[in-house]
Structures are given as C-alpha cells and as structure tokens.
C-alpha cells in the first residue's frame, strides 16, 4: 500500500506542476503584452497607502476623476507596502520599466537619496506652473525639496505631499476625572502635576513602547520633550544639517534628562522593551493606560474602537511639537508619461479630492476646513492647521541621517530598560549624528 501512495503523490505533484506550467504561460502573456505598449495606453501609479485610510479613499476618488479626464487611458494602481518600497525604491526606479508616478518616503535617508541619485524628476517648473507651492507651504514643503547632496530643506522640488500629520496625546476623559484632574494641563509643569495625580490614582499615565521593531512611542515621547523646549533654530539645524548641533546643551540636554526622569518616575509604564506601538495602542484602548502619544493615523481606529469618552491635546506648553507632511508624490526620471503624471498630482490636489480627504479626517494640505461637518474631525483639522500656520512642527527625529531610526530605537530601548542614562545616550547621539552628516 505504501509505495503506491508515494508514487501517486509524486505523480500528482508532477501533474500539478505541468498544469501550473501551462496555465501560468497563459496568464503571463497578458501583462507582458500590455507593458510593451506602455508609452501610450497605460498609466501606472505605484503607492502604499492603505485604501481604507482617508488618503486612500481620497485617491480612489482621484482615480475616478483622472479616468474621466483621460477616457482612452488604462490606469493601473499598484499597491505596495511602506517597508517594501523603502527597501526597493532604488532598484525599482533604476529599471527600464518604471511606474509613471510613485509615492515615496520623505526624509534624507529615503527621498533625499532618490533625488540625489537622479532617479526622480525635478518638479520646479510644474510646481510654479500648477501653483503647488501655494498649496504646500512652510514646514509642509520642507521635505519636498532636496539639494544635490540629498539633504532636505532647500534645493529643487522632487515631491508633492497631499496631507499632513502631527503627534498628540489621546487621553481617557473618565480616568482624568477620576484622578481629580479638572482642567486640561496648560504647560509642562501642570502636565507633570496631572501625571502625578494619575500615578497616585494607581494608573499607568502614558501608554508607551520601545521594542526595536515598531516600538516608536518612546522615541516620540523623547523627541516631543526635546521639541517642547527647543527653538525653531535648534530643530532646523538638526533636521536640515545646518549649523553644528551640540546635543549636550540646550533643549537636547534638558529634554532628554526630563525623559529619563519620566522613565524613572514610571510615567510611561515599565517593561517597554518588548512592546510595539500596536500593543501600546491596545493598552490604551483596553483602559490599561490613560494617555497614548501617537499621530492622527490612529484617529479613525480610536474613534471606532474606544469604549470610553476620549479627547486629545498637543503636548501642553510646548514650543514645538512633532509632525510633518505626509509622504510624497514623485515622478521617476525614467517615467514615460510625465505629463500625465503631473496631471495626476494636480488631480490629487484638486478641491474634490482634498475635501474628501478632509471629511474623512486625513488633514489635507489644500482642503477647505468648512467642508468638514463632523465636529471632532473639524477640531482635529483645526489644531493641525494652527500648528502649520504657527510653523511649530518639529518633524520626526529619524529624518536627518540614513540608519538613524534603528540607532534611536536601540537607545530608546536601552534607556527604557534603565540600562543607559541621558548623558550616555546624548554622547552616542552626538557621535552618530556627526559621523552621519559629515
């Protein structure tokens, strides 16, 4: 009996293999036929937004509008992931058969390198022609421009963002009331007083995480504390690699020392080394912690999943706070349908698309806030518009140097486990930053 089954199995596998061979031959014929005629009939968009997010929904609308504008055109929207694009952008864009328009990651390590290696098309002409610089201004335009060395902040336009994002605290209103906090804190001192009250009431005040993989909350708490006391110049010098940054002085020193105190006082909970941001979010939503530092990417989820009354506030009394533009649309240097690509970018910045993104809570850069009817979404958008207008966004700390994210995450984990002091971290930071920006 046994030899029979074995033989059958192998024969079956062979048959399956043959079937796969012949069928795959049929299925692969179609796409290769299409790509041959890429110059005219087909327009390829490569992006990695989740189609259920506000931006994703806005872009679906944009595809509809774009198709209506170009009836004969086949529009192929390809979905990839943030990490996959981050790893493969250079290879992909240096090939012969590149997409016509791509979404790419902002920052010197990503967009900067693509720009400086000539893989992306400079967009200065189109920016002034379409007036994109009127819609995307100030700090929102900072990571759209890169110089010859791939450093952000000045130089040519290479990308155009659609939306913005900012970091704030989500908080549990019931737990605030229970701990006797009547008014929202207005400065760092009153914020720490409120946190002490929560601590006294037996709560974990801040839900955080410091796993080297995806445990970003601690990094955001740390950088928020630095930003809170930093001047615009301190942050811009660091971010755009201008004047020399001395991490052992000013906001860098005081912010990082305060961060160490927060860890020691138990403000952020303990055993963070193994937690990811997803687990920190669940700890907040399951009411194991009172506040969650995160950005508006979690707004819809918290709205849907929270079973308690909640609100949000930016770090009280902060001079600057975290946030930046979203990722960028860019046109590969080897793209075959560049004019269509410009038209696509223009379509995503059109009022129809931007207002739809706004209504879904996606913080559009060129939307009309009065088009938003939902009060909470309007509040979210208003606070964002305020910080953009006041020019107080400090971006994300990992932008300036390639490989910075892993470096910071490792040290965040060490500090959270109390294996490293603020001074030790700042020394390492100075060395890494100086080496990386030489």
């Amino acid at each position: 009996m046994r030899p029979m089954t074995r033989r059958q199995a192998i024969a079956g596998l062979g048959a399956l293999g043959f079937g796969a061979l012949s069928l795959a031959a049929c299925s692969s014929a179609a796409p290769s036929g299409n790509s041959a005629g890429n110059g005219s009939g087909k327009f390829t968009i490569l992006q990695y937004e989740d189609p259920t997010t506000p931006q994703g929904q806005g872009w679906r609308k944009a595809v509809e509008l774009f198709k209506a504008k170009h009836p004969g055109l086949t529009v192929d929207v390809q979905q990839t992931s943030f990490d996959a694009f981050r790893q493969n952008a250079k290879i992909l864009l240096s090939g012969n058969d590149v997409p016509d328009v791509v979404e790419f990651n902002k920052g010197n390590a990503d967009g900067g390198q693509l720009a400086s290696q000539g893989l992306l098309q400079p967009l200065n002409e189109q920016v002034s022609q379409f007036g994109w610089d009127k819609k995307v201004t100030g700090s929102m335009a900072a990571f759209a421009k890169y110089n010859d060395d791939g450093m952000a902040g000045d130089g040519d336009w290479y990308g155009v963002p659609n939306v913005g994002e900012y970091v704030y605290f989500y908080y549990n209103k019931a737990k605030f009331a229970k701990a006797g906090i009547k008014d929202l804190p207005t400065d760092l001192a009153s914020f720490e007083a409120a946190v002490d009250k929560l601590k006294a009431a037996g709560e974990v005040p801040i839900s955080s995480s410091a796993s080297t993989s995806q445990g970003f909350n601690q990094m955001w708490v740390w950088y928020s504390l630095v930003s809170a006391e930093a001047s615009r110049k301190e942050i811009d010098d660091f971010m755009f690699v201008r004047d020399k940054v001395d991490f052992r002085s000013g906001a860098w020193k005081s912010g990082t020392e305060r961060f160490q105190q927060w860890i020691e006082k138990g403000y952020v909970g303990d055993k963070l080394g193994g937690l990811s941001f997803e687990q920190a979010t669940v700890n907040f939503l399951s009411e194991k912690a009172v506040m969650l530092p995160w950005n508006n990417g979690m707004f819809a989820r918290i709205r849907k999943d929270a079973k308690f009354d909640w609100g949000f506030f930016i770090m009280p009394g902060a001079k600057l706070s975290m946030g930046s533009s979203g990722h960028l649309w860019g046109v590969p240097a080897k793209a075959k349908n560049k004019d269509l690509a410009y038209d696509w970018i223009e379509t995503t910045l059109s009022p129809e698309v931007q207002n739809l993104i706004g209504q879904k809570g996606g913080l559009p850069l060129a939307g009309d806030i009065n088009a938003i009817s939902d009060p909470l979404t309007k509040e979210l958008t208003q606070k964002f518009n305020d910080v953009v207008k006041a020019d107080t966004l400090s971006f994300y700390p990992d932008y300036p140097v390639p490989g910075f994210l892993d470096f910071i995450q490792n040290h965040m984990q060490a500090m959270s486990n109390k294996n490293e002091t603020a001074a030790g971290y700042l020394d390492a930071l100075q060395e890494f930053y100086d080496k990386g920006t030489k």
Binding site: S28, Q78, Q79, I91, G95
Partner: protein, 294 residues
Amino acid sequence: MSNVRTLDRQQVVTDRGGSLQRRTPGEWVLFAVAIAAGIAIFAPFGLIILNAFKSTQDYSSNGPLAFPSSFSLQAFLDYLGRVNYGQALWNSIAVSVLVAAIAVVLSLISAYPLGIGRVKVSGIVLAVLLIATMLPHEALIYPLFYGAQATGTFNTIWSVVIVFSVLQAAYGTYLISSVMGAIPKELIEAAQLDGASRWQILWRILVPILRPSLSVLVVFFFIWTWNEFYIPVVLLSDQSSQTIPIALSTLRGQHNIDITVLNAGSLLSLLPTLVFFLLFQRTLVRGVAAGAVK
C-alpha cells in the same frame, strides 16, 4: 526490501502499544516535554486563529490573548477586499510547484556526475554551490533584477521560478551528491557489468534508491519557495504577479497595522502550506529517517 521494512515498523508499533500501560518515569518526563514543545509550537498558530475571528473593537478592548467575545468574519472580508487573494494564491502555487519540480530534477542531474562520476574538482564545485546558497539574497539582487529586465521576465512569475529553481537546486545538488556518495560502488559496478548505460543507471538504479530523499527535497523546496519574500518583492512589483507573502505585506502601513485583518490574511496564507504539509507529512518523515539510516 520495502516489505521487510513495513513488517519491522509494525513490530515496533505493537511494541510501543504494549508498553503504554506501564510507562517508566523517564518516559513520562519525555512525554511531558513533548507536550510542552507541542504547545509552544502551536501557540503562534493559536494566536492567529484566536485573533482572526475577532472584530477590531473586541481586539482593541480585550487584547490579543482574550477569547473573541463574538464570532466575526469581518477581518476575512476586509482582507479579501484589499488583496487579490485568488490571484496571489494561484501565483504562489504555480511558483512553488514549478520550482519544486524543476529544482529536484536539476539537482538530480547535476548531482549525478558529482556524486557517482569521477569529476576531479567535485569538492570545489560543491563548495561553490554551497556558497551560492549561503550568500545573502541582498547581495544577489542587483544582477537578478537586471537579468530579469534583460530577459523580459521582470514582473512575471517566470523570473522568480528561474531564480529559485537554480538557488534551490544548488542546495539540492549538494545534498543529493553526498547521498549518492554513500551508495555502495558495487551496486553501480554490477549494473555496468550487466550492460546498463549511464542513463539507465541513473533512472533504474539511483532514482529508486534516492526516492525518499528526492521527495523530501520536493517538500522542502515547495515550502521554502512559498515563504520567500525578499527576491519576489523586488522582482514582482505588479499586483497581478505577486505571491502570497508579498500580498500580505501590503497590509502593513508605516504607522498603522490592522491586526485582525493581518491575522485573517496570515491564516488564509498559511492554510495551503498546512494542507501541503499534511499531505506529504509521511514522505517527509520517512525521507528524513531514510537519510539518517544511510
């Protein structure tokens, strides 16, 4: 030969059955360790199953370890809505089956001169093949990418099929040639005396002896190829040619993950390999044992 072996095994089975009633303490300890190991191995799958059938609200309020408060298929519907599962499944099956079949035949043919024939530099050849399997894929990706473009196979499953057939066959050649080296030379000499050609020796003598090892390789190649991520993600950027692991990865955002959808997707992606494994489990175990005896 195989009849004798079957008898032996039955003997062993009844022996073990007999000792069921009176186990020694040592056996109980082993038994407990085996159960603990089983639970540890099952735990991640258990977690996936547990969370795939939850609503996101349920997951968010009660965490990943709680039992679902209500049974929900929403995560599966969301997954199927966002990913072209049928297409990805088909691509994965086509790639894995083709690679398994091609790589095994390739390994067998290239191992024949190295293991049985007298190639002077066979040691060096095997070392080179081993190095090929040990090289990180990141080091190979640029040549593979340009190769795929030059041959027009970029963005089609053929690029991946060719690459992995060769990579897996490098390992297979190494393995099979060393198994061949252990086959008594007398057997082949006897066949030669009987007037068998080289071709006949390979198919009539060696393949039947090697069959257990070959079937293990088929299973390994299938599963390894199924799980490959890095090379396919570069070579298959078009959705119509993506394999299951790549489709799954598109669910992860930079600052947001939909855990229940990810779990549902993982479960659906895991099922085919599980089915495959169950079907070929015996082949697998037998092949490993056969290799060990030799």
